[in-house]
Amino acid sequence: MPTWMSYSLSDLLLFSPRTYYRLFELMNAALWPAHVPLLAAALAVAVLALAGHRRAGRGAAALLAAAWAWTAVDFLGIRYAAVNWAAPWFAGAFLAQAALLAWQGLFRDRLQPAPGGRAGTALYLAAVLLMPLAAPLSGRLWTQAEPFGLAPDPTAAATLGLLAAARAPWSLWIVPLLWCAVSGATLRTMEAPDFWVLPTIGLLALALRLRRHPV
């Protein structure tokens, strides 16, 4: 058996759950009150999408591209990278996703709300409004909440919700789905009770998209 096969995920986890969640606590303290305008922008995108507004696609793409880019630089590139040497790679993937969203959604206008996309929009709203509640519901401090646009998990979940509600190129799904796997595995290894949330959202979004328009 090759040596690398004898490693389990827990052998590779470099930090304790306490350290991981403190990253969000310190981030929230440093960035508050950016949460407020960010939430307002996220809700505005939902309103545009539900109204079927012709600018909904570009609006969503602009917000999502900014959210992925910010999360890449601030959380993954600086905060998470301080305790995980793999984080710069994650930051690179998040930046690539931001560029792809900007290219496909803003410049090519290929992130169009699709008929029957309400379930996807509901998933988006759940990611924006409910995922930050995972911290207090799992027994952690509410100051350790993970907000959309600042933390990677709700950013990926919200993106998958909007993608499920849209006609969009499949290339936009790759990084968010990969992140569902990476983050789910990390949280599972940390024995976090809510490890299943993000992978479940990923699968739900994929199911909604396929039900509407099979490949």
Binding site: T3, S6, Y7, S10, D11, L13, L14, F15, S16, R18, T19, R22, L23, L26, R79, A82, V83, N84, W85
Partner: protein, 303 residues
């Protein structure tokens, strides 16, 4: 009198008595020590690991907590702190703690080289010296045998030039023991680091006897199996033998099992808690189990 490891073990085997297995007591009331055969130094039986526990990044509260753990470690007579470039921010956090504690002179600094590139080795050592704030390391080890031929050459040259105290190689989780054995037999390393605890005893078969024969100091990592052992036994009553060897908790029992093996120089438990580091250091003093009691301990812990 300077006692070589080989001579010490020879006399132990000849005497064959449990009493003779007892390690030396450091001057004063400090922890018990074992000699480093190749250079004549000595180390307390319990050191301090930093895997996971000291990787707290820039968190100022957590950094201060780590510094407190280090302070309690030195106050209890501890010396060896072990880290690696693989452990995220651990080295930086150790450097922070050492600066805050006024650079305790007792420190025996031990870290590793962890890169598959031979040419990056020296650069990584310089980085580590900067992060720790030390002019040279007491021990540099090749982490998990990664690119060991090249790194061993670099480290041996550093030691010969007086820029390094000791050279070692490490493995963990029982991996690559056959290769480690070959290195121990063919190269004049001062230290090896391996996983050894009451549940992972593979090294007792060949690695520990070879270390004793070759006069190589042994650092035992994962003494609590990454916390699994302490978690599993938490709440279970201590067996009667615990009182015989002065253990007040399971952690001390696990540590005494490890450091009472005559070929083990020290165990390196990691912790984020001051009370735990004091408890761990206390395992380096008092009566140690003899061979018969070690067998009973292993049976009870494996059961």
């Amino acid at each position: 009198m300077r006692l070589s490891r080989r001579r010490l073990l020879g006399s132990l085997l000849a005497a064959g008595t449990a009493a003779a297995l007892a390690p030396a007591r450091a001057q004063g009331a400090g922890p018990l020590t074992r000699p480093i055969a190749s250079t004549g130094g000595a180390l307390p039986l319990v050191g301090l690991g930093s895997w996971i526990t000291f990787n707290v990044g820039d968190d100022p509260v957590a950094r201060d907590a780590c510094a407190e753990v280090m302070g309690a470690f030195f106050a209890a007579g501890g010396r060896l702190i072990d880290s690696s470039p693989m452990y995220g921010s651990s080295q930086e956090v150790i450097g922070y703690g050492l600066a805050k504690l006024g650079r305790p002179p007792a420190l025996f600094s031990a870290t590793k080289v962890w890169t598959s590139s031979a040419s990056e080795g020296p650069e990584q050592v310089e980085d580590a010296q900067r992060l720790w704030g030390v002019p040279r390391f007491d021990l540099l080890q090749v982490h998990n045998l990664v690119a060991w031929e090249a790194h061993l050459e670099t480290l041996m040259a550093m030691k010969a030039a007086g820029r390094l105290g000791h050279v070692g190689v490490t493995t963990s989780h029982g991996r690559r023991h056959a290769e480690l054995e070959r290195i121990m037999a063919a190269h004049p390393v001062d230290f090896v680091q391996v996983t050894y605890n009451a549940a992972d005893r593979e090294v007792e078969r060949r690695i520990l006897p070879l270390a004793a024969e070759r006069g190589i100091a042994v650092i035992a990592n994962r003494p609590f199996r990454g916390g699994d052992l302490t978690q599993e036994f938490a709440g279970r009553p201590l067996p009667g033998w615990a009182a015989e060897i002065g253990c007040t908790g399971w952690a001390q029992a696990f540590l005494k099992f490890i450091v009472s093996h005559p070929a083990v120089t020290c165990a390196i438990p990691a912790t984020t808690r001051v009370d735990h580091v004091r408890e761990n250091m206390a395992a380096a003093s008092g009566p140690m189990p003899d061979a018969a009691l070690r067998a009973r301990m292993a049976a009870d812990i494996a059961a």
